[in-house]
Amino acid sequence: MLAVLLFSAIAVAGDCGAPPSQDAVAAYDKCKDQVMGAGGDGKTFLVDADSQVAWLVDRDGTTEDAECISPVFIAKKSQGDPATFGNQEGYTPFGLMMTYNHHSKRKRIGSNCLGLAGYSTANDRSDDSDRGVLIHESAGPTEGCLGVPKGTMKPLKEKLGVNSPVFVYGKNMDPSAACDNKGRTKRNSTPSVPRSSQ
């Protein structure tokens, strides 16, 4: 109850400024058809890496009842306006990803996180090495994960769920690589079943 109240409080705390930008929503719109049939709770976590704000929007991109979280930390090397993306160590990747259950080896995080399965050229390395990019609570810049403020991970996990889309947007991203599905094809997976949980 307290956690839900806190999440709501953050959502209305006024730190998020305007609703998601039209550019961010438009970029997600180009990818959303691929995830409309996915599982989860019908929500998408839409992250604007330039402003380091994220919204929990309806899967179809509707933003009327969007709840926001601010700040959302990204990798130190990626920070900036515009953000600098990458799928190598030390950078936050962009584009469409799907959540899965994960248990972190960092004790403070443990299971209070969501794994992010990369699905596109922009964020998939399943052919050789899995970076293990997560959403987890953080008090500052990360090594590539999405960091949310303390107290927000549990309600976010409840509201977003596993097998749900996460879309990381930034002005600097390559739209053609945001959801080209090269990673998913390699895993030979269906749209509704991302990589198996770890």
Binding site: V12, G132, A139
Partner: protein, 108 residues
């Protein structure tokens, strides 16, 4: 509602990250990325997990990795183990990320 939200945020901030100890679980494979001779801290990455940054000390590394305890040269030359990978025999204690990051901010 807004005031309540801010009160809650202050409460959680006051009881937040700084007072909690963090560690990496035993049997995890880690790689030693870098060493800061000024702060005397190592930056460690968890294999197949992009969480971090993870900062620790030589003492904590030697507590967690038994093979490092016999390595006498490490105190004089901590960079000897940069780039190496180890499976942790015991949990590896971590330093407070925010405190280290704030010290980095103070550097030119």
């Amino acid at each position: 509602m807004r005031a309540l939200g801010l009160t809650l945020l202050l409460f959680f901030s006051a009881s937040g990250f700084a007072d909690e100890t963090d560690a990496i679980e035993a049997h995890t494979v880690v790689s030693i990325q870098s060493y800061d001779s000024h702060l005397r801290v190592f930056k460690v990455a968890i294999k197949h997990e992009a969480t971090g940054p993870n900062y620790t000390t030589l003492k904590f590394l030697q507590e967690a990795i038994e093979s490092l305890r016999e390595e006498k040269r490490l105190k004089q030359k901590p960079t000897l183990i940069i780039g190496n990978e180890y499976a942790l025999d015991h949990e590896l204690k971590l330093l407070d990320q925010m405190k280290i990051d704030s010290k980095y901010k103070g550097k030119p």
